[in-house]
Subunit: 500 residues, 2 copies
C-alpha cells in the first residue's frame, strides 16, 4: 500500500522524520540558521502542552513570572562551572543601533559597554531575583516558573529536536533544606513523567544522570528518557537539584528560625519544544503523525462531502449539528474538540491532510449521512483507513470510549518498545560490542561506575552514552552488581544507548 | 487619612506610578538596563490579558504560530522605510560563543558572517512565511498571530510603559483585496477597543494616526488611546493597514481567479505589556492598584483571622467552605476566582497587600464569622475600607451582582476623564497656548492638516503631539472645519495631547 510519507521509517528514518514535519505542516526552517517557524498545527501542539503542564505546575503552588531575555556577561561569569557549560553555545549582543558606514551599508552602531548574552537558561537572573526577595525562613519555599524562549547556538540542528532558539518552561525553586529541595526535584520529575505517560502517551524511563551528563552547576540531574522507534533514546526533560551552588554565587541567604543566616537550596527543571520531536518519533507512522486524543488540538474532524446539484447547506447544517452534539460529550473531563474543515479543497486532499496531521477520528459527511442521520467515521489507527457507519446518537454516545481506546492503543504500542526484552542487560564487552554493532540497536542496561575515559571511548567506538541510572522500580534487575568495565567494583544499573 | 502609596498622585505622579508597581509587587528592574522582571502578580495580569485576548483573536479565525527571535540584517533592509524606522532601536547579535582572551577574560568568540537583529517586530519574517505559503486566491486570507517577546533599545525606559524588552501579541494577515485588508485592520482595532472597554474597564479613543506617527512601512495606522489620570494620553495598541508595502518587498503574490499574479494586501496589529501601565495609570489610586473584576486574577481574597487559644482549623475549614461555595457562582460566564491567603503574616499586612494589589473584594474570616456562618467583607472601592457583614448564603447569592457593580463603577470613573468637557475644542493658538501651559492639561481637540514643521514646533513648545484623528462618533463635533494653523484649508478633527 502506498504511504503518505516517503521515505518510510525503514527506508530512511532521519528523512522520514523531516518529511513528517513537512507533510503534517508542523514547522519549517527559517532564513536564520538553525531556527524554525512553528506553523499553526505545530504551535497548536505546543499550546496544548503549555495549557496542560501550566495547570499541573500551578497546582503544585508555583507562580509564573517573566525574566529578561538578556543576561549580562558578568552575571553569567559568577558561577564558573555554569559558564563553562554554556560558553560555546552563547549568542552575544555586542551593539545597539544600526548605522550607515562609508559605503552606505547598514552596520552595527553603538558598542555596548558590556556584552549581553541571550539567555541559554535563567539560573543567574533568577538568582538575582531570589537574592532580593528572600530574607527570612518565612519567605520559603519560593516556587516560580516561566514560559520563555531560549537560545543555544548549536552546530547541528534538527527541527524540534535541537534548534538554535527553542521554547520551554523553566521552573526555579528555593528551599530551606537540602532534603526539601531534593524532594522537590523528584516531585517535578514525576510531574514530567505523568505528562509524558498520561498526556503525550509516551512511556519514559526516569533516572539520574551520570556526572558527565549533569547540568552545569547542578549537584544531581534527573531525566526522563524516551525510546524512539529507531532504538535511539531522547532526553525529554530534566530536573536538577542545584544544592547551594547558585545560592552561593548569587548570595541567596535567609535568616532561619534561630536567626542565623543560611544559604538556600535551589532546584530547576524544564521541558522544551523537543517534546514534539519525541512525539513524532514515538507515535508517527509511514502515513504521518499520530496524535493521542488528549493532545490532539482537534479530536474529531468533520469533512463535508458536497457533490454537484445537491443542497450543500443541508450537509453543512448537518455537520454543524454533529459538531454541537459531539461537543456536549466529554473526554477526560473536557468537552470533545470538534472541527469542521470548510477549506476550498477536494475531500480526498482534506482526508489525507488530517491523516498526516494525526487527528484521531475523521468523519466524512455527505447527503447520505444527512438523510440517514448517520456518521461515516474512520480512526487514525486503522491500517487500511476503513470506514464505519453509525447512527449519530449512537456515535456520540460511544465517542468518549472510542477516544479512550485510541489513547490506550497508542500508549501500549509505544510501551512495547520499552519492555525488558528491548532493553537487554549486557554483562560483557563482547555482548556490548555485538549489541551496538547491529543496525538500529535498542537501548541496553549495564552495571556502571562513573569513568570519564571509558565513557568517551564508548562514544567514540559505538556512539553510545550513559543515559541515566534508572529508578530501580523500572527494570527487574538488582540496583548494584559488579561493574562491566571494572568488575572488582560494584557498579550501578545504567541505561546505555545511542541518543539524539 | 494615611495612604498606602507615597508620594500620592497629586504630590508626584511619576513617582507614585513607580511606587504602585513596587507596592503591588507587579515588577522590578533587572540588572539589564531597561529590562524588568515581571513578578507573580504582574505576570498574572498579563496572563489574564493573554487568555482573554487570545480567545477573542482565535474567534476571528486566526491561528497562532511562532517565528524566530532573530531577523537577518539583510532581510530587514528589504523594506527601506521599515528599517529606517527601527534602525536606532535595534539590538544586534554579532558573535556566538565566549572565549578566553590573553588576560583570561571571557570575550565574544566567533563573529557571525551577517549580524542578526533581535526582532523589533516580525513583518519581515512573516513576509518570508507568507511568500512561501501563499500561491493561489484559495489560500487567502491568511490570518496568523503570535505571542512573543520584542526588543527595542529605548533611551528612557519606564516599567511597563517603555521597556527594552517587552511582551506582546502581533497579528499578521494577508488578503486578496485592499478593501478586505482595510476592513480587517478596523475589525482588529474594534477588538482592541472591546478588550479595553469590557475587560480592562478602560475607555479609549480610537482613530487614525497622523503621517508622522504611523508605523514604518504602513499606509495607515489606527490606534487606541487612553487618557491617564494626569491628563496625558497613552497609546495602548495599534492596527496597521500595510497595503502592498511588505507584499512587494517580500514578494508575496497569488494567482487570482483569472490566473493572473497579484500582490496581497497585508495588515498587522499588536498590544503589549504596556496595557498594564495603562491599567495602573487609569485605575490605581493613592492606596495602590485597582483591578476590574474581569481582569483580577483573584476576584475575592479570604484572609483568615486566627487568635491565640482558638481552634484555627475550624476557621480554616470555614474559609474552605466559603471558597467552595463562592466558586460555584459565576461572573460573566466564568466561575468566580477565590483565593485563601494562608501566608505566615499578620492579617493587617495581608489586608494591605491585597488592597495594594487591587483585588475587588476582601473577606476577613474569624471565629465570629464561623459561629454565625457569616462573612465580613469590604470592597476595594470603599474609600474608608468599611466592612460589612452578610450571611454566607446571602453573600454568595449577591456576589456576581456586586462584582458587576464594581466593574461598572471602575469603568464610569475612568470614563468621566474622557468626557467632552475634558477634551475641549481649541480654535485659536491663544487657546492652545493657555490650555497646554496649565498644570496637567487634559487632551484637547483641534482641526488639523498634516504639517511636519508645525507638528515639531508643537512638540518643542508644548510637548504635545497629534495623537489621532478620532473616529467621528466619539465626539460631538463635525469631522472637518478650517484648520487651526492653516485656516484657509479644511482640517480634520484631531486629538492633541501630552503623551507617554
Amino acid at each position: 500500500m502506498k504511504t503518505a510519507i516517503s521515505p518510510t521509517r525503514s527506508e530512511n528514518y532521519p528523512q522520514w522524520y523531516q518529511e513528517v514535519i513537512s507533510q503534517a505542516d508542523l514547522a519549517q526552517l527559517s532564513a536564520v540558521r538553525g531556527c524554525m517557524i512553528m506553523t499553526p498545527w505545530g504551535y497548536a501542539l505546543w499550546e496544548m502542552i503549555y495549557h496542560t503542564l501550566d495547570q499541573q505546575i500551578k497546582a503544585y503552588g508555583h507562580e509564573n513570572i517573566y525574566c529578561p531575555l538578556f543576561v549580562p556577561l558578568s552575571d553569567l561569569e559568577k558561577e564558573a562551572e555554569h559558564i563553562d557549560g554554556f560558553a560555546k553555545e552563547c549568542a552575544v549582543v555586542t551593539h545597539t543601533k544600526l548605522e550607515k558606514n562609508g559605503q552606505g551599508n547598514l552596520v552595527p552602531g553603538s558598542p555596548l559597554e558590556e556584552p549581553l548574552i541571550i539567555r541559554p537558561t535563567s539560573e543567574m537572573i533568577i538568582g538575582e531575583l531570589f537574592s532580593q526577595r528572600i530574607q527570612s525562613h518565612r519567605d520559603l519555599p519560593v516556587l516560580v516558573n516561566q514560559w520563555a524562549n531560549i537560545v543555544r547556538w548549536e552546530m547541528r540542528t534538527r527541527m524540534f529536536l535541537r534548534t538554535t532558539e527553542f521554547l520551554w518552561q523553566e521552573g526555579h525553586t528555593a528551599h530551606a533544606t537540602a532534603e526539601e529541595a531534593q524532594a522537590h526535584t523528584l516531585q517535578m520529575l514525576a510531574c514530567y513523567r505523568r505528562l509524558c505517560h498520561d498526556f503525550l502517551a509516551i512511556p519514559v524511563i526516569t533516572g539520574m544522570k551520570s556526572i558527565n551528563e549533569k547540568f552545569p552547576g547542578a549537584e544531581e540531574t534527573y531525566t526522563i528518557e524516551g525510546i524512539m522507534q529507531d532504538g535511539k533514546v531522547l532526553q525529554m526533560g530534566t530536573s536538577h537539584f542545584l544544592g547551594q551552588t547558585f545560592a552561593k554565587s548569587c548570595d541567596i541567604q535567609f535568616q532561619d528560625a534561630e536567626k542565623s543566616l543560611q544559604y538556600v537550596h535551589t532546584t530547576s527543571w524544564g521541558v522544551t519544544t523537543r517534546l514534539i520531536g519525541g512525539l513524532i518519533m514515538t507515535h508517527a507512522d509511514d502515513n504521518g503523525l499520530i496524535c493521542p486524543p488528549t493532545l490532539s488540538p482537534h479530536q474529531v474532524v468533520i469533512i463535508p462531502l458536497i457533490k454537484k446539484n445537491m443542497d450543500a447547506n443541508q450537509v453543512y447544517d448537518y455537520c454543524e449539528k454533529i459538531k454541537s452534539l459531539l461537543r456536549t460529550q466529554r473526554f477526560r473531563d473536557l468537552p470533545i474538540r470538534v472541527f469542521i474543515d470548510m477549506k476550498d479543497k477536494k475531500p480526498s486532499e482534506k482526508k489525507w491532510s488530517w491523516v498526516k496531521k494525526g487527528v484521531p477520528i475523521r468523519l466524512e459527511i455527505g447527503q447520505r449521512e444527512f438523510e440517514n442521520q448517520t456518521v461515516c467515521y474512520s480512526s487514525r489507527l486503522s491500517a487500511d483507513h476503513s470506514k464505519h457507519t453509525l447512527g449519530l446518537a449512537d456515535f456520540a454516545e460511544q465517542l468518549s470510549q472510542q477516544l479512550d481506546s485510541i489513547q490506550r492503543d497508542i500508549y501500549m504500542k509505544a510501551k512495547s518498545a520499552l519492555s525488558e526484552a528491548n532493553c537487554p542487560l549486557l554483562t560483557s564487552e563482547d555482548q556490548l560490542r555485538s549489541h551496538f554493532s547491529s543496525e538500529r540497536p535498542s537501548p541496553a542496561l549495564i552495571y556502571w561506575i562513573d569513568n570519564d575515559a571509558v565513557e568517551q571511548a564508548l562514544q567514540a567506538d559505538y556512539k553510545v552514552s550513559i543515559r541515566c541510572y534508572p529508578q530501580t522500580e523500572v527494570f527487574d534487575h538488582s540496583d548494584q552488581a559488579p561493574a562491566l568495565f571494572d568488575p572488582d567494583k560494584k557498579g550501578r544499573l545504567a541505561l546505555i544507548a545511542k541518543a539524539y
